[in-house]
Each structure stands twice: as C-alpha cells, then as structure tokens.
Amino acid sequence: MGDYRVLNTRAPRVDAVAKATGQAKYADDFSMPGMLHAAILQSPVAHARILHIDTSKAKKLAGVKAVVTSREAGLIKYGVSPARYDETLFAHDKVRYVGDEIAAVAAFDQATAQEALSLIKVDYEELPAVFDMFEAMKEGAPQIHAEFPGNMNAEVHQEFGDTEAALASCDYVVNHTFLNKRQDAAFIEPHSCLAVFDPSGRLTLYTSTQVPHYVMRTVAMTLQIPVGNVRVVKPYVGGGFGPKCEATPLEMSCGLLAKITGKPVKMTYTREQVFLHSRARHQFFAEMSLGVMKDGTMVALKNKAVLDGGAYTSFGIATVYYSGSLLGGPYKLRSMKYDGYRVYTNKPACGAQRGHGGVAHRACFEQLIDMTAEKIGMDPIEMRLKNIMTTGDMTVNELDMSSLGMKECIETIKAGSDWDNKKGKLPRGKGIGMACGFFVSGAGYPIYRSDTYHSTVVIKLSEDGGVANVLTGSAEIGQGSDTTMAMIAAETLGIPLDNVRVYSGDTDYSVDLGAYSSRQTLMTGHATKQAAEEIRNKIALYLSEELDVPVASITFSDGIVKFDGGAGNFDKLRTNYIKEHRGWTDPPSGEYLTFREAARLAYLKAGTIVGTGKYKPPKLGGSYKGAAVGTSPAYGCSAQIVEVSVDLETGQITIDAMTDAHDCGLAINRTSVEGQMQGSLSMGLGECLFEQVKFDSRGRIINPSLGEYKIPTALDMPKVKSIIVESNEPNGPYGAKEVGEGAIMPTIPAILNAIYDATGVRVNELPVTSERLFMTLKKKAEEA
C-alpha cells in the first residue's frame, strides 16, 4: 500500500481533548434564554380507538405555554421510505402500541410539563391487540393498519436460478431455523433536541441524530416549512447504532412547539422513552435449507424470513430486503431463493441497527454451514474456504465484490487462534467456533428516490494559509468520522493533521446522507479527497505560474512544497511573504517552501481558496425488484473465531477469547478500525447471550432500563485479538471501505458454533442465557 504520511496511522482522534475534558457539548447540554421544556404524552394502551382528547385543563395550568395534538400538527404522513409513509406525528384515530404519541406540551420547566401531561384526558376504546408476529399473520387477528390487511407490512420474493431443482440435485440438503429477540441499541445518550424558531421563519434543530439531512427533510415536510428554512445541527452524539437514523417525534414536537410559541424548546427522552421509541433491531425468524455436494461445494440456499416490525414501518422495507440480499456472499452459490415477510404487531416500531437486516440470518446461515460441514465430515474452515469468493466475484444477486479479503481474513484468524490444535480436541465444556460475514460500505441509493449527491464537501483554506477547514454535513456519532475526514484532507493536501479543522453535522455546510449503512468513510471520504485535490491543484497552478515550473513537478507533504522532489528556487515567493508579514515574529525559514506560504500567496492573488468535492455511487445492481437493496460501491468482510467455556452444571457461558479479522480496505486510522471491530464484538456478544426487550401480556415493556436490559459489562468481554486485513478497494478513497457494521456479522454464529463444540447442543434461539442452555442440555441428556 502507498507510502502515507497521515493515513494508516494511529493518530489521536481530533475530538479526544474535548471529550476527555468534558468540553464536548451534547444536545441536552444546550440551553437558551427563555427556553421552554417539552414533554410528550404517550399511549398507556397497546391498541385503542381514540374517542376524545381534552387538553383544556392542561392548557390552563400556570406555566404551560402550548399543548399540541394532531389538531395542531395535522395529519401529514411520514416515515423512512416514501413507499411506506405510515406515521403521523400524533395519533388521531388510533393508538397502535404502548408509547404511541398523542400530544406534546411546552412549559416553563420540566416539572410543569409533566404535570400538564397528567391533566390531558384521553378517552380510549380499547381494541384487541396482537403482540406475536405469527399470531398477527393468522386469519382473524386484530388488524393494526386498515391499509395493510393481514398485518402484512411488506413482502419480498426473490429467486436467482432454479432453487428447487438445484436443491434436488444436491447430495445433502441441511435445514435450520433460528429466532433472535427484539433488541435495544442501548446507546449512552438518549435522544435530545433543542428547537429554535427565529422570527424570519427559520427553524434550527440542535439534535442527537445520525442523519441531519433526513431529519431536515422530514421535519420540513411534516411541519410544512420550506426545506431551505430548516437547519439541523448535530452536536456531539453519544452513540446511535441505527435507531437515530430517522426523524423522531421528539424532534418534530420540539420544532412544532418552537414554531407555535416562538421560544426555544428542548426535550430529552428518558431511558424508558428510548425503549418505547425503539427503531432498533427487529425480531427475526429464519428458516433455511442449504444444498451441497459431497465434496463440500455449496449449491443452493433457500431462505425465509418473518420479521416482527412493531406498529410502524420505520426502516423495515430495507430491513426485510437485507435479510435476503446479504446472504448472497461471501460464498459462491448457484441459486438462491428468498421469501421475506415483515409483519405489524402492537409494539414499538423496529428499524435499523448495526448490521441492518443481516445479523440474524447470517447467524442462521453460518450455523447451517457448520452443521453441513459436520454432516459431510469436513472441517468448517475448509468448507468455507472451498466456497469462498475472492476479489472480482459477483454474487448470484449481482453484488459486485470489487475487493474481498475474505480468504485472507479466514487464514489469519485460523493461524492467530491455533485452530488446528483446538478444533475437535478440547475437553467437554470447552469449545471453539468460527463464522464469516460481509456488509455494504454505504447503500447504493438514498432512502428517497433522488439523483442527489450522497456527500458533498467544501474545504476552505484560512486566508493566512495555515488551516484547512473541512465543512461537511456528515455525522460524527462517536465512530470517528471527523478524524477520518481530517486525515484524508491532511494526506491529500500534504499538511499535518493539526492543520485541519473539521466542521461537521450541520445541514448548512453540505449535503450528506449521514451515518448509516457504514457509508461515510467511503462516500464522505471521496468527497473530502476530491475537495482537497481541488485546493491542491489550485495552489500548484498558482506556483506553476509564479515560478514557471510544470504543475506535475510540484508535490506537497508534511506541510512542505517540493519541486521535482527538491527545494527548488522559490526565493521570490519567500521574499514576498516576508514583506507581507513585516514585524511578525515567526518568519518562515528552512530550505523548503511551506504550504502556509504558498496558500497565503495564492490567496493574495486569487482570493479565498475553496475546494469542493462530491460523491454519488455509479448505477449499481441488477434490474430485478429490490435489486437496489444490498448494492454498494464496496463490501467489507470479516471472520471471527470464538473460544468458550460452558459450566455444564449451570449453563453459564464464558467467552474466553475472540480472534477477529476484518478487511476494511485501507485502514485510515488503525485505532478507530480496531475500536469498531471490538465494539461490534461486544454488541454481538450482548445480543447472543443477554439482550432481549421483554413485554408483559398487555404490550408494556418490562425491562426499559439499562439495569434490566443487559448489555455486556467489561467483565463479560474476553481478550480480543483484532487483526486488520487490508485489501485495496478500487471504489474507495485511498482504497478504504467499511468496518462499522460488517464486523458484527460473524460474532453471534461464531459463539453459537463454539457452544456447540463445547456441549454438543445447537441453540437456535437467542439469547443463550444460562437457563436456555442448561435446559437444552438437560433435554438432550433426558432424550439420550
């Protein structure tokens, strides 16, 4: 790989000091003179007709400035994908889950707002409710949306090749089913928003989001403000993982209340409201058959999915497509059939979460591969390698693996974990397992149909020539995208990282679709690189004209300009610069012309120096229905090996070690890549062993807190060996691609395969609590 000065290092994050010292401001830290505090009234029942809403008492309470319901908000439908706009800001005819929003109030302080909520009287006529996705599909089940009979929110049917015929021709067909549980993303910072409506008619939202651009559009649409008059600013964000990928009732309510009162309005969700808003990982049921030949060649995969969507669509259309399309690789298949169903139930809506749509089905598939390998007497790694795709391969569903270090990932973890000496050789109670996976580096298409660029970036040099200011609408949400963009700009301009400042997360800066589908490194990265190149070219052109040297002879690195690789003759420029700065104490010295001198002089000649960059993927994918979902300019991939100990007397599982390899193309920042890899592991571990949002018989969440919804603690995490594999992605900036989500794909099946190795039982339902494993072991012992 190239000889980089800034890229591929372990540069400290650009926001490290602000965060470590507490200077970093999050949405809830914001305050303004005259600011009002808002609160939302949410339905206490899962399914009911709203007969009457009486807000008169609440309005009369001293300190209350506004009370709004659907009457004030209107009934404009919104959602994530225009094909399924099925939400209104406030429920008007029906509530569809415990937590459905009915009204909002703005008051002097939070206590008054809460009291006002308690004074709003809603008459409900309760309706029968349905909480289980299979029940919801049955005839006679309560109907949640009149427009969607049978509670069928979305159906997908895709087939590539003749799957039944292919399965019939196989030596073995192995079947498996799998059920995960609804998750919460458990980010640390609850959603929070401050809305300011200025007299000129402009609405500004300071909000904790992954997608300022989409929030801007949705809020403009629902509040009927021209889109150019809505500005969304994302301060520092304490995690998103997917559920912060869409506009929330919190943001829209704050905006509406600010518009009505003319005062700044702030609201922050409680942890319970975060659970109620949800939009996190669906519950998936997977049913699969894999057909193989005796020698281990994979031939055909049949895959069915049922998704519990909750009461609204959110990202669900994409989710139900992803559960099919993301099994196209990384193994060669001759045919693949997919049938997916997303079902409405009277629970909070599910949406996108890290590994969107792919995680549960990947878990089922990778278990199935191990089961098949066992059946034909083959080492599971050997079987995977036999079928592995490599760079340049195309999946049956036409996803183009323009770079794919899958084989390298598998080989490196095999060596790194001493697999050969452990697999099949560990005592009972100890096990080792592995799995693979891949993921998109940004969705090929925006969520709404448009020819928009996915990312634009503006870089403006400061007029003193010293600093490159990168302006981008992209969203730093803790993943390190500001640092990534700073590094790309610094490398491209040939200046030290300290001389770059990133201004991000503001819809006024540029268009950027935001932090989802692992897209920013590739897409915002491209735009940043292009903007920096334009600046570099402008300065080179200026120098070329001034010094009468060819542009091609000029290079920039470490803040220094070289001519034909040497100092060149730039005396004239230095003299000019020093004249410009007579009396200054830090005249430039040294044998080379500095970037700062060149940039300052170029400004004197031509005015402020600005570069712009833009990126949108080329047209991708096949022409079949749904071909757009799963397409990406590039795919990251990973393989993991997990070692476990199982306490056979209690069923308790300890993850002893994890070895993890990920191909992210060029690792822009090695520490950040490892951070994403390890964060993915911990999230996958939690989903596998502990996490489940639980409901009582009336659809109320039993465990809406981080005390009772159990994510892994530091003590639950094993030692992790993270190995970065770097293919060179032709479609990525400097060869870079994703790591944020792909790294979670193998974790759950690798753990499950290790548990099987340790105990001889296959668990096909999550979470694998000690009780679930113990009872499965007991049942097996009783049957024997």
């Binding site: 005390g707 603690t713 003590l715 639950d716 113990f774």
Partner: protein
C-alpha cells in the same frame, strides 16, 4: 427523570438524627448511599417529605473488631469497604464475597450494608451472608433500643421489622469457631451488575481438618419472599463426614426450603435446579476454605 421535592437534613450526631426521625415519623427516610432510595424516588414509588442523611454522623462507617468474640459493622460501611476488609475476608468470608458481587464498582462505592438490609429485597446479596454469620442488628429510636437476630428481621419483599422512627445503628456478628470456612455464590446473567437469580451463602465448621462437620449454616436469596435458611439441610450435614456426595444431598434437601417464582429473569424449575447445584458447590468451597483455617 425528576426527583420529587423533599427537605434534606444532615445531622451531625446520632442523637440529632434519632430526634429528627422521631419528630418526622413516617414522612422521613434515612438516606445512606441512596442507590436504592433515589431510584425509587425518581420512579415516584416513594415520596418522602424529608431525607435524613447519615453522612455526618461519626462512627457509622467503621468496622470494629471486638477482641476475640466478634465484629461490629457500622450501617454506613460501603460494599467496597466490606469486600476488601482483611478481617471479613478471613473470618466472615460470605459478607466480603457477597459485597464484592454487589452491583459494579461505582455502585459498591456508595451502597451500604445498612441500606442493603433495610431495603430487604429478596434477591439482595448481603442478607443471606449476614444470616449464616448469625448477625444481630441493633435498632435505635430516640427513646428506645433493641437487638434483633437478622433471621427475624425480614418480613417480606421490602418489609422488615424496623419502625419508621428507628435507625439501624450497628450489625454485630460473633466470630465463628475454629475450622470454619465460608462461601458465597451468586448466579446472574452477566458477570457484574446483576440481580441474583439465585444466591447462596454458606458457613461450615469442622471438628478438625479430618471432620466431621459440627456446624453448618446455609442461607438462600431470590428463592422466596425473604432470604431463607435451609435448616433441614444444615441438620443433615451436622455430624457427617464432608464429601461431595454429602454436599450434593444437602443441595437436594436445600431445595425443599425454597419457593422460587417464575419471572422474566428465570423460571421456577431452573431456579430449583440451581439451588441444588449451587448449594452443594458453595458447601464444597466452604469446606476447602475451612481446611485453610489458621488461628
């Protein structure tokens, strides 16, 4: 989430605290670490008009050795302190181990033994440990003082015999006999920040390293409305030679003392099976610890 309104007092003497308690009666709550109380207040389960802090009262956070007969633990001693106290680790092992499994470091730095006992949650960590050590609780009001064996303290979930005007002022535990060992095991979903699905504290006394068992105490948490002693299992053990088989049988008998419930953390069936397994496991650990006893 907002706290309800309350007035806050920080009396500097025990007497002052007791006087405030007697004047305010049922409308006041004592606050120690606040890790239970403040959570319940935020959830509006409790709305006391007054909080009386123990912070400034001297001596309540001390662990004092009583020569050769026992230890007195102040109610405001934190779980962190209990878990690293040498005397407790050596002679009163279940208390130190249970305290080390309570919550996570940030919680242990605030959570107190007094709060844990008075709070009386069926799954709490310290009550079973105090029960096997035969602890006595001293309760004091402005005009009265009484001592209650910890086994008689709990009445039900969140319910104890303490009166609104009383303060728990100390916990006394007699020093166990020679050749005694103790153990504590907690079963939860993850390795920290857990509410027990089952927990068990055990004390085992041998006549000599060669046996037999001359005393045994077993207490179980999260298996009934209050922590319970497994008396029948204890009686079974006394007089027997320690062995894995004997410990396993004691585990089976121990289950008979329990009436665990099914809730979202675990089923009754699994809990019963785990009582059996963990009781015999804890007995084995206590036995191994007893063998290392030093004068």
């Amino acid at each position: 989430m907002l706290l309800p309104r309350f007035d806050y007092y920080e009396p500097a003497t025990l007497e002052e605290a007791l006087r405030l308690l007697s004047e305010m009666g049922g409308n006041a709550r004592v606050i120690a670490g606040g890790t239970d109380l403040l959570v319940r207040m935020k959830l509006k389960v409790e709305k006391p008009g007054y909080l009386i802090s123990l912070r400034k009262i001297p001596g309540l956070d001390a662990i004092v050795r009583r020569e050769n007969h026992g230890v007195t633990i102040g109610p405001a001693v934190t779980a962190a302190e209990l878990s690293r106290n040498e005397l407790l680790l050596d002679r009163f092992t279940p208390i130190a181990l249970a305290a080390g499994r309570l919550g996570a470091p940030v919680v242990r730095n605030r959570a107190t033994i007094g709060g844990n006992l008075v709070n009386a949650r069926p799954a709490a960590d310290l009550p079973p440990a105090c029960m096997v050590l035969d602890a006595t609780l001293k309760l004091k009001s402005f005009s009265n003082e009484r001592e209650i064996p910890v086994g008689e303290f709990f009445r039900g979930p969140g319910q104890t015999v303490i009166e609104p005007n009383e303060l728990l002022v100390s916990i006394f535990a007699p020093i166990p006999a020679p050749w005694t060992g103790g153990a504590y095991i907690k079963l939860g979903a993850r390795k920290a920040l857990e509410i027990s699905m089952v927990n068990v504290a055990v004390i085992l006394t041998l006549q000599s390293p060669q046996g037999p068992i001359i005393d045994a105490k077993i207490a179980l948490g999260a298996v009934a409305p209050t922590p319970v002693r497994a008396f029948a299992a204890e009686e079974f053990l006394i007089g027997r030679q320690p062995s894995d088989d004997v410990f396993a049988q004691a585990g089976v008998i121990g289950v008979g003392m329990c009436e665990p419930i099914t809730d979202h953390r675990g089923t009754m069936e699994y809990r019963c099976l785990m009582i059996e397994t963990l009781t015999s496991r804890a007995l084995r650990q206590a036995y191994e610890k007893a063998l290392t006893w030093k004068p």
